[in-house]
Symmetry: C2
Subunit: 200 residues, 2 copies
């Protein structure tokens, strides 16, 4: 009864495959990484991949989920301890420098999305993830505004779309031109803050 060895080892295999794919996709790209290499580096063979994922796309989507969770958690953690508005902006600036500035992440998401945009079913999976992510960012923004006692100049959802889109655009361009600074993300946030009014 104590040993659920069957299910557990299956889950462990799956997790190690996702971890390995996560690393390889980030460093070499999604298209350039073969399932053979993923399996080998994870210490398995390709059969293990196909017993855990029906297609390469499914593995890709699983990696995207890890990516989203990582970023959401790191962003929330980054602004958690900040108090004043200026402290929060500075915390966000540091997070942006470390995360948007870290080129691989956005490039992978975008490579996967655009390369498979005509694959049936993938677009819906990506659309669902996009909406979740946008809602999560919107929640975070709203929470920050409440904390600071501010009313935003536009709906939190719209602000989230702006910040996410700008981050994607910057990340994509930095993938081939890392000299492009990420400061405009902070500029956008600051302009949102400047145009906010005290909540009544």
């Amino acid at each position: 009864m104590g040993r659920v060895t069957r299910k557990e080892s299956h889950a462990q295999t799956r997790e190690r495959l996702v971890e390995t794919a996560h690393r390889l996709f980030l460093s070499d790209g999604y298209n350039a990484t073969s399932l053979d290499k993923v399996a080998a580096e994870a210490g398995f063979s390709k059969g293990a991949v196909y017993s855990n994922f029906a297609t390469k796309h499914e593995l890709g989507l699983a990696v995207l989920d890890v990516l989203h969770l990582e970023r959401a958690m790191s962003l929330a953690a980054a602004v958690r301890d900040a108090e004043t508005a200026e402290e929060r902006i500075e915390a966000f600036a540091r997070w942006a420098e470390d995360n948007i500035g870290d080129v691989g992440w956005t490039a992978l998401e975008v490579e996967f999305a655009t390369s498979n945009r005509h694959v049936k079913g993938i677009d819906q999976a990506l659309a669902g993830r996009r909406r979740e992510l946008t809602a999560a960012v919107a929640d975070l923004i709203e929470q920050q505004a409440t904390d600071l006692g501010l009313t935003l100049p536009l709906p939190a959802e719209d602000a989230a779309v702006q910040l996410l889109s700008l981050g994607i655009g910057l990340g994509v361009q930095r993938a081939f031109d890392p000299e492009l600074p990420v400061t405009s993300l902070v500029d956008l946030l600051r302009s949102l803050l400047d145009r906010s009014r005290p909540a009544e």
Copy 2:
């Protein structure tokens, strides 16, 4: 002497190949389009492709140049006849709706950039094009500000980076979720305008 038939037919072949690649890359994607198909649909065989382009990447870059020229011209044309600030914003809004809303363009650029980001030399080619495009948009912004007698709240170059990045981010997300509206581009432009001051 009047007939430069050799050079001309070569240039014509090249042009038709780029046109066909332009169309197929947009509809099916860069990775999913084989050079064989490009050649066949253009009425040539693959040999003609390789006598005009050393690699598939070169053809891809040629298509990106066409894309950039198209967008730059259509944007400049869209705002040309507008007079008041509000008219210009509305002209830009229509352009954004027709262009950023038209999913294929951004997705192609971004698919090419991210899929080949580790191919030696491609990143420099893309970085050069990015800077040209940013400079062109910055020029357009500066010209508009001068026309309206306004001083922008930030350097035109920074505003160009913001608008381009936001456009890329929106275009990418709309590639798999076309319900995402492009209104935040107009919001950003309007906020730039609202924060501008009359030039002395």
